[in-house]
């Protein structure tokens, strides 16, 4: 069965391009554009990885991951950030505490993104 990846980003073009990339690797991809929707989806379906943006309206990616880690049903979910945010040292410390499995910086380098994604999922 194909591995499943949830992509969370408020920008439609990013969602589309990452979905195409993920599917080209043989994975199943689902997209949502809001943090709240991501949390609802994670409670209903199992995913091998979540790719999570940080700067999003209503609920930021950071808040989404905080909520995931506090929820006994989904707290062990593998999550990687996929964001344009260039973290400061303070920011890196804050993010580390939330235990993401990776931090992908946008714009991504497709080759290294694919290689790292494969390692994370398989």
């Amino acid at each position: 069965m194909a591995k499943k990846i949830l992509i969370v980003d408020d920008e439609e073009d990013i969602l589309t391009s990452i979905k195409m990339l993920v599917e080209s690797m043989g994975y199943e991809a689902k997209t949502v554009s809001r943090g709240k929707k991501a949390l609802e989806t994670l409670k209903k379906e199992k995913f091998d990885l979540v790719l999570l943006d940080i700067f999003m309206p209503e609920m930021s990616g950071r808040e989404v991951l905080e909520k995931i880690r506090k929820d006994s049903k989904i707290k062990k979910q593998k999550v990687a950030f996929l964001s344009v945010a260039q973290l400061s040292e303070t920011g890196e410390d804050v993010v580390k505490k939330l235990k993401p499995v990776a931090y992908f910086q946008k714009p991504i380098d497709i080759k290294s993104f694919k290689a790292k994604l494969k390692k994370l999922v398989e």
Binding site: I54, P57, L87, V94
Partner: protein
Amino acid sequence: MERKVLGRLFESHILNTVKNNQNSVLVISSSFKSTANDLNMILSEKYGKIGLITLAVPAEVVLANLEKSGIDPKKFVIMECSGGKSKSAIKGNVIHTSRDLDSMTKAVDKMLKSDVDLVILDSISMVLMYNEEIDTIRFIHQVVNSVRKKKTKALYLITKDDMQRKTMKDLELFTDAIIRI
């Protein structure tokens, strides 16, 4: 001219934090306007050239206040962000721009080209008045990166109330220090 609000302890705390960090956020709990005026005074004593981004106060008022406070206005490059859709233009040491974020981003780049030692954004709260929270945080992130690339410094003012907005919590992810007074 007498400083009205900031005590010596806060002054040295702010100066040290700005000195040791590239991008600092200053959270002001009360007397915002007087605190901002005091900041112009204390920071102009320490930094050669200051870029001041003002959204609420017209540049000519800022310049008059500086003179009144005994500060040489030539030490300042003022970026005046006003309503309407005027294209950015430079007159003397004033950069005029509209308040839309694309124009402001371009104007910040122009300001950074004038080799300022410190940028003061007065304020994130005012940017929030005219823009969505998510657009504001993206704009600040862009300014922070431009300041980093230019290897200069910046201080971003915000009220305590606005700092309590959920989205603004993410400021700590990409800025270097948060000062609360």
